[in-house]
Symmetry: C2
Subunit: 189 residues, 2 copies
């Protein structure tokens, strides 16, 4: 009896399609992506790609979500200031990489329904970690009662988002403590 490796061929097909997809995205931009071009570059049949991924957006979403979805570490330094600096620092590190930048840009695009999944995953991963940081701070009595924690997190992330998408301002590690120093006083008890 021979051992049968289930998923072997399917996994190879997926990897080849991912490689071809991202080669086109990085070299020509996302709007140059077509199922026909991915089929030609990957050697995978067009009908197979259509059946499994549906659209060019579906190809990118499958790659991006498989590469970026992971348990996001929850900082736990014993004080809110340090936790927020670490949390925002991780987000900055992510969006400074090409893949993170792509996720951010896709998440802001409303013209392709498929990208909602990327936006939702990006949001959920970061917001869950942020909410745990706030919970720890509340247990230590650091938070102002009645603070809108969602709004606080959106405000902390806000300037990164504005700089990356609107003003083209610098987003580096040195920005993070400045943002925390600016927003923290309005959050504290």
């Amino acid at each position: 009896m021979t051992t049968r490796r289930t998923g072997g061929r399917s996994a190879r097909v997926r990897e080849n399609v991912h490689l071809a997809t991202m080669d086109i995205v990085w070299s020509q931009g996302i709007d140059a992506l077509s199922v026909a071009a991915v089929a030609e570059k990957s050697g995978v049949h067009e009908t197979t790609i259509y059946r499994r991924w549906g659209t060019p957006a579906g190809l990118v979403v499958d790659y991006v979500t498989s590469e970026t979805h992971q348990a996001f570490p929850v900082p736990d330094n014993g004080n809110l200031h340090a936790d927020l600096v670490e949390l925002l620092g991780e987000i900055v590190e992510f969006v400074e990489q090409p893949l993170g930048r792509l996720v951010l840009q896709l998440s802001a695009r409303r013209d392709q329904p498929g990208y909602e999944e990327v936006r939702e995953q990006f949001r959920v991963d970061r917001f869950e970690a942020g909410m745990k940081v706030f919970e720890h701070a509340a247990q230590r009595g650091e938070l102002r009662p009645g603070l809108d924690r969602n709004l606080a997190l959106e405000t902390l992330i806000g300037p990164l988002y504005v700089r990356l998408l609107l003003t083209d301002g610098e987003v580096g590690a040195e920005l993070v403590p400045e943002v925390v120093d600016l927003v923290l006083p309005g959050m504290l008890a």
Copy 2:
């Protein structure tokens, strides 16, 4: 001698092209826009459109910038809290209209070089008003010395931007004082 109205025909052509452009954008979305479709709908020759506007993005940019560029009022209520509430309230009012929402979405898109003009105008109009508000506050001694005013404005605008583009959260008039209350303590002397 007859009176010659200069620009009459040219202005009519522009208006017809604008109307056709935005009819397609509102009903089918910006990615459905083509010079051929605008030519057919407006009755203006394709070559004329190419010569004057270049690309579909150029058509949208010309309409959007002609409609939205205006001296942005500078609030002057004698205190920073009231001025910021008024300033952000005007921005919220703008992005709650379809045209403002479109400007915001275009400003976040990096795939069309033509949209940089929209982004830049949106940024400059709002940031100039914001910087004047900060100057007045500094003259009254309200601002913390060494405050990064650009970062402060990016942080105040941040949650609006994050909600509109990332989290799909509510952006209404009631959000504005909450944001100001959150960020203001870190800005004050």
